[in-house]
């Protein structure tokens, strides 16, 4: 029996926009176990981003409980949440969110910078290891604007890996990339998943979701479907079959 990383019970989230109350989540139950690769799907406004923000401890639910690696986040303060994000979570964003005037290596070091237990030498070593894991060992001292979109997203993935989180949360991580680069990123994530990383991946693209292990589909604040992916695609193999038209 694998360890439960994420356990969500009757989660509700309301937004107040002026007089109107928007029910973004209307009682969601979800359980994610260690080593899973879960795709959260849904159209815009379905509540999937709200769900990810709460899973990422970036936002608090209106009601319901959320256990992350056995810790209930409901009663934590802002600073305790920050510490929790620092140790337990890794984020990958659609728009990469790298610091522009900072090298790839320093970008990856950033999360460790806020962990006072880690000395600068260890910080550098771990950042180098994370960049190697995403295949960018030769780009460590490049600035983000010297890197392609796919490379920037790899740096972002390295950053999410560097603190050895219990779960990596990716928000439309392939949304800004072309098909080929998307597949490369998915191949990387599949690889990491195989090595035991738990990944939650928000997307609205069905073909991207095909690479994951389980799909959770949201609509109007409810989970309407939850199913294991049958005939899971292997990104590496698909890459080989892609025509190499964009290479001159």
């Amino acid at each position: 029996m694998k360890k439960t990383i994420i356990e969500v019970n009757q989660l509700k989230k309301d937004f107040y926009v002026g007089e109107i109350t928007v029910h973004a989540l209307r009682g969601v139950n979800l359980e994610i176990k260690e080593g899973e690769f879960v795709a959260i799907m849904g159209t815009s406004g379905s509540g999937k981003s709200t769900m990810l923000n709460i899973l990422g401890c970036l936002d608090k639910p209106t009601s319901g409980t959320y256990l992350l690696d056995g810790i209930s986040m409901g009663e934590l303060s802002k600073n305790e949440l920050a510490a929790l994000r620092n140790i337990k979570l890794g984020f990958v964003f659609q728009s990469y969110n790298l610091l522009s005037r900072t090298s790839a290596l320093e970008n990856v070091e950033l999360p460790l910078f806020y962990n006072s237990k880690i000395k600068s030498k260890e910080r550098r070593e771990r950042a180098q290891a994370a960049l190697e894991a995403v295949g960018l060992s030769d780009r460590m001292h490049h600035m983000p604007n010297q890197l392609s979109g796919g490379q920037q997203q790899r740096v972002a993935i390295a950053r999410s890996l560097v603190n050895d989180p219990v779960v990596i949360l990716a928000d439309e991580a392939t949304g800004n990339l072309d098909t080929r680069t998307s597949y490369e990123i998915m191949a990387l994530l599949q690889d990491l998943n195989q090595k035991g990383k738990t990944i939650v991946f928000v997307t609205h693209e069905a073909d991207i979701a095909k690479f994951t292990g389980r799909q959770v589909v949201f609509r109007d604040g409810h989970i309407i479907r939850e199913e294991l992916v049958i005939n899971r695609n292997n990104a590496k193999e698909l890459l080989k079959s892609l025509p190499i038209e964009d290479l001159v």
């Binding site: 936002d59 600073n79 620092n86």
Partner: protein
């Protein structure tokens, strides 16, 4: 950083110009001698007929002795007799004024001796035909020869030049203070004007603070010497330079107010510039703050980072601004020949105010951003 540099530099330049003008006005006033007191004959009555001021002959040399004896607040006193006329040397001539004075007069009027010597007591007692000349007179009467030892004729009296006065320049009202000849008062009285009275008395108070006392003592002494009864009108007027200085100091006060306004406005303008630049640059980094929050930075970590950044920025910018401001001031002083004064106060004030503004407006938007929900900060456009 640019905002801070420009802000600090412009404030320093503005203050340097303002203070320079103020100082040059003050210097001119000090050059006149702030302790100077003049006593002149006033209107007098002769059998009910009131006479004009200028032809009164009420002041005598004995008044000087009395003042020296009676007035502890007076340090130096000198009689003054004047005559205008043509000074002639060889085939050159020049209209000027001859002043008959004693040796203390130089100190009273803040004249310095350029070259040569001043009068001896013996020369004063014997109506010696000697004189000192001012720079303007020298320029107009002598080509390149050394005037000392030569003779200048004033009226028809030949006077031996024994010294040249140091240059004094124009006074606050544009009069050339170097266009004069100084001779012993006895010489001017007896040989040139043929009078026994004196035209005015020049004195200096022992210190500026004793000005009022000195005026009072001179008045009492003169009333006593002139045997005026209680209730009778003064037959003289006592004027002090500090009274004139008061008039000037109202100008100086206006300058001070102007200066205050200039520095206030330049600080405000510099401050607003700094404020905007810091505010915009920090607000632009809201997404960065969001990212730092989401990877586990606490609000306090981020605030500290931005505080340190804005302090460094302000201090570095301030130092560069100070150097730039001083250089610009010096350049302006050389190119445009403006009087400029850079005071420590203006540098410190410009630096402190600009840094304080820079630090505050680096810190304040960062605080706002750090207190946001991480997702809101991340999505900030």
């Amino acid at each position: 950083m640019l905002g801070i540099i420009i802000g600090v530099a412009s404030v320093i330049v503005m203050l340097a110009i303002g203070q320079g003008s103020k100082k040059s006005i003050q210097d001119q006033m000090a050059g006149m001698g702030t302790n100077l007191i003049f006593a002149m004959p006033g209107s007098e009555q002769k059998g009910g007929v009131r006479m004009g001021n200028s032809d009164a002959q009420s002041m005598k040399l004995s008044d000087i002795d009395a003042i020296e004896r009676d007035c502890p607040a007076i340090s130096d006193v000198s009689p003054e007799v004047r005559s205008s006329g043509q000074a002639v040397v060889g085939n050159q001539n020049w209209p000027t004024t001859i002043y008959g004075v004693n040796n203390k007069y130089f100190n009273i009027r803040k004249y310095t001796l350029g070259t040569g010597r001043t009068f001896t007591n013996n020369e004063i007692e014997t109506y010696a035909k000697v004189c000192l000349v001012g720079k303007t007179v020298v320029k107009n009467l002598f080509d390149k020869t050394d005037p000392i030892g030569q003779t200048v004729r004033f009226g028809n009296i030949p006077l031996l030049i024994i010294g040249i006065l140091g240059e004094k320049g124009e006074n606050g009202m544009g009069q050339d203070q170097d266009d004069l000849i100084m001779a012993p008062y006895t010489t001017v009285q007896k040989r040139i004007l043929a009078i026994t009275h004196i035209q005015s008395i020049a004195a200096s108070a022992a210190s500026e603070s004793q000005n009022a006392a000195a005026i009072d003592q001179i008045s009492k002494s003169l009333r006593n010497s002139h045997k005026l009864k209680d209730g009778a009108e003064d037959d003289f007027q006592v004027r002090s330079q500090s009274e004139m200085v008061q008039t000037f100091s109202s100008i100086s006060d206006i300058m001070t107010a102007l200066l205050g306004a200039i520095s206030g406005i330049s600080l405000l303008v510099g401050g607003i510039g700094i404020m905007n630049i810091m505010y915009v640059s920090v607000t632009e980094r809201t997404r960065e703050i969001g990212l730092r929050l989401s990877v586990g930075g606490r609000g306090s970590d981020i605030l500290l980072q931005f505080l340190i950044e804005s302090i460094l920025l302000s201090v570095f910018g301030g130092v560069i601004g100070i150097s730039l401001g001083i250089i610009a001031t010096k350049v302006m002083a050389t190119l445009m020949n403006w009087p400029v004064v850079i005071t420590t106060f203006s540098v410190v004030m410009a630096f402190l105010v600009c840094s304080a503004i820079g630090i505050f407006f680096g810190w304040y938007p960062a605080r706002k951003a750090a207190s946001l929900n991480p997702i809101d900060a991340l999505r900030y456009e």
